[in-house]
Amino acid sequence: MSATNIATVEAPPKAPWIQLALALFVIGSVFAIYRVYQHSTAFTLGLDYFSEDFQTYWMTLLYAQLPILTLLGAGIVGRLWFTRERYPAQVSAREELRRHYVVLSQILVFAIVAYLTASIFTEADAAWHQVTVRDTDFTPTHIGLFYLGIPCFIMAGIVAFTYAHTRLPKFIERVSLPFALVVAGPIMIMPNLGLNEWGHTFFYAEELFAAPIHWGFVLLGWATFAAGGLVVQLLTRIVELTRVMDKPAG
């Protein structure tokens, strides 16, 4: 029996504020540094894919970040799986409440990465394409958006999904469809990226941002509309866990 199975937290649980602040600091720093790097080198060293500078300053970054993110994601998800809760019926109410705090903290991290990726890094790509003609799929903005931002987005989603389905008793026994949809959207952006790049090399060299070739991304973004169902599932259980038994709440 793992330690978490027999743990009974006597004091009221708290959200993992320190870990959350640390995660936000790390994510904020990585994206901010990346952004400064992009700002200072994209238009000076990132315009010609066939130049030596491009290979040094941008392709090296791509080759480094892909395996790092893959290993990091696989490591975290693997650890969550192998330390999963095996006796959900024995989880105390306070421990279950604490785990809900953790899941919501993870979804908050997911939301931060969603904002950074879907707004700032996506529109950096929009702005970039207006003033350059692409000679590669691996432009400086694509390397930041599709090979850093989206993988981080996917990783944050899968980590939260895995944590919930290996730790929360109500999620262990079944799969939350809304949660699955919210996580599946970012994952499917990668195959859609293949379609997008193929289309841009084949029949649509321009970069009208509202063009039909981009609508697949929109459809996948709409997967987050299922977040409402996830909120309902989480809040329903949180309300049950936070009822005061001796007198009615409120």
Partner: protein, 256 residues
């Protein structure tokens, strides 16, 4: 196999012992959930709007009388519709219109400044985002007063289409002033567009003022606004229905 979640059973145990503990727990959840929702709205709305309205909102010389007032409300009422259902039906909060559009506005200003101005060197008065906050306020007020999704879609959806152009007119008017360049009359917005060359959107993909539009005189703008309004009634109802589906608590039984 999908199934709707059964009604919540009576709890047999709780994680809080007193009302004070309960209040502390709720405060912590609020501190997690409120920024989560705001950031998610900023990300989703920005992404959705960029890829459906995109250039019509990016560039001052794209805000024409035909496409911009038609495309914009259709994309703009999606999140108020979807999350309006969730926030009103489940939490009795008539704030989705204002909140989602405020999130879009904030995200748009940050992005236009960081990306289009600082990164790609376009002047801010060429790439400023339009204002839509009043539409969100109207949507929420109608929902609050009518307490009906039907009425909100009917009047709120219609006003979304009707008011996009007049709301932005004070901001847009200075860019519609005619100027003469080399013997040709054009607008200040057109001139900005020609001066700041966008290599990936050459003039032939600039979808503005197409077809016989210029022969219609001043009737074009109200015509488009009313058409957009009628279309947007159906659009808003549709997205409220999507919000109803999205707010369902559906569980899948595990295969193993």
């Amino acid at each position: 196999m999908a199934q709707d979640a059964p009604a919540a059973p009576a709890p047999t145990r709780t994680a809080v012992a007193t009302s004070a503990e309960q209040r502390r727990a709720y405060i912590q959840f609020d501190l997690l959930i409120i920024p989560l929702i705001v950031l998610l709205f900023m990300g989703i709305f920005s992404f959705h709007f960029a890829l459906l309205v995109g250039d019509w909102d990016y560039w001052v010389d794209w805000r024409d009388r035909r496409w911009w007032p038609l495309v914009t409300p259709l994309a703009l009422s999606v999140l108020p519709g979807v999350f309006g259902y969730l926030l009103w039906d489940r939490l009795r909060l008539p704030v989705a219109g204002t909140l989602t559009i405020l999130c879009l506005t904030f995200a748009s200003w940050v992005s236009r400044y960081l990306n289009f101005h600082l990164f790609a060197d376009f002047p801010m008065n060429m790439v400023w985002p339009s204002t839509y906050i009043a539409l969100g306020l109207i949507f929420d007020c109608i929902l609050l007063l009518s307490r009906s999704f039907f009425v909100t879609g009917l009047f709120g959806g219609f006003l979304f289409g009707l008011l996009v152009y007049p709301l932005n007119w004070p901001l847009l008017a200075p860019f519609q002033v005619p100027v003469e360049l080399h013997g040709t009359m054009l607008t200040v917005a057109d001139l900005l567009g020609y001066e700041y060359v966008r290599t990936a959107i050459p003039e032939y993909v600039r979808k503005i003022e197409q077809s016989t539009l210029r022969t219609f005189g001043e009737a074009v703008t109200p015509l488009t606004a009313v058409f957009a309004g009628f279309l947007n009634i159906l659009n808003t109802w549709f997205w409220m229905w999507i919000g109803y589906l999205g707010a369902k608590s559906v569980w899948l039984r595990k295969i193993t």
